[in-house]
């Protein structure tokens, strides 16, 4: 369980989080709230990309993965390579390609990522996160740009493969929150 105790974070003079405390147990927690309330900052703190000005974050597992708002994929590589770049060592290319095919990317395996659509790239990022076999997975507006059917397939794929792990998602979309289920944390 990830525990945030009295965490504060400011950017310059602007406080983003003040004395924030929360617990993120195994299972899905969806962080919701209007823009500018520090949802992404909260994820960045848990991912170790920012340090809190005060307070403490404990219980962070060793193996983390994320699907970011931007795809953050190396554009010259094919989808399977993008998955293998962060995958657990026992994940083979065949396995990566099978998982990508499951998410409807079978016809795109031969193309570099730069030739894929935004929605296709997002699915590559989802497979990458799952095959990293994380103990904690962070989803930052992970379903933006996907149509409803693919959104559901991708959410189901992530949930099915991260059962029993900590999943923390940030979204401003109530439908996406419902798709993921789990506990809602409004900030």
């Amino acid at each position: 369980m990830i525990v945030l105790s009295n965490v504060s974070k400011s950017y310059g003079e602007r406080p983003v989080l003040t004395d924030f405390s929360a617990e993120f147990p195994a299972g899905v927690t969806v962080i919701m709230g209007p823009s500018g309330r520090g949802k992404t900052t909260l994820l960045r703190l848990m991912m170790g990309l920012e340090s809190p000005d005060s307070g403490a974050i404990s219980g962070l597992p060793e193996r983390l993965a994320a699907v970011f708002q931007e795809d953050r994929l190396p554009m010259d590589f094919r989808a399977a390579e993008c998955v293998l770049m962060t995958a657990d060592r026992d994940v083979s290319r065949k396995k990566a390609e099978e998982e990508l095919t499951r998410l409807g990317l079978g016809a795109e395996l031969g193309k570099p990522v730069r030739e894929l659509s935004g929605g296709q790239r997002r699915r590559v990022a989802a497979v990458r996160a799952v095959l990293a076999r994380p103990d904690a997975l962070f989803l930052d507006e992970a379903f933006t740009g996907l149509d409803d059917a693919i959104k559901k397939t991708t959410a189901d794929y992530i949930l099915e493969n991260t059962a029993g792990k900590i999943v923390v998602a940030v979204t401003h979309d109530a439908d996406e929150a419902a798709l993921l289920g789990g506990k809602i944390l409004n900030i």
Partner: protein
Amino acid sequence: MEPRRKEILQKAGAIIFALAIWQLAAAAVNTRILLVGPAEVFMRLCTIWQVEDFWGSIWFTFYHIVSGFLLGLAAGVLLAALSARSHLAETLLWPFMITIKSVPVASFIVICLIWLSSKNVSVFISFLIVMPVVYGNMLSGIRAVDGNLLEMARVFRMPGLRKLKYIYLPELKPFIMSACSTALGMSWKAGVAAEIIGTPDGSIGKQLYYAKIWVDTDDLLCWTVIIVICSVTFEKLFMALLKGMYRKLEGA
């Protein structure tokens, strides 16, 4: 006519035009000591391989200049990586890089002839010319690496080798290509200049020097053409090798 074919024909036309101007100038001067035409140079090219130690001279110059280039490439990459990690290292290297870039090559050649045997001067000069070019390009490249990808690598705890393969090498591709393309030509120009001044035995530089002493313009221009052929051939081969390496890396 398709654009590529048209461009090739236009370039071929430009080369023929330049050769014609050269031939006309040689005919107008009409003194072989001052200028020989392309036809005479071509004729000499057909026989120059019979000169004693022809292939040995080419190998000597090629080996030394290419060694200097490769050493400069390796040093430039390593020092850029060091400077990107440590501001202190960058600051300490700054006066050396500025000095190497601004001091005339001829001064370095003369200084090197005092320190080193003439045989190794072209290695050192080629190294000195290549290293700052590679260093500058690679440092800019490392600083331009996508911060989002580096953050992603931190979150996923990507090991160093995977970061190198999937993030640094692809992101540095245009910088490496540009640095090598520029440095390859420069290394040959500076390396041969070092040989002409140092005149090491068995080098193309010494052959050029003798051609100058004997006012043998045929040989002078012929050896110059050979240098250009060696330089362009090595540049094309090296760049093809680099592109091939990237194709393999990207799994194409």
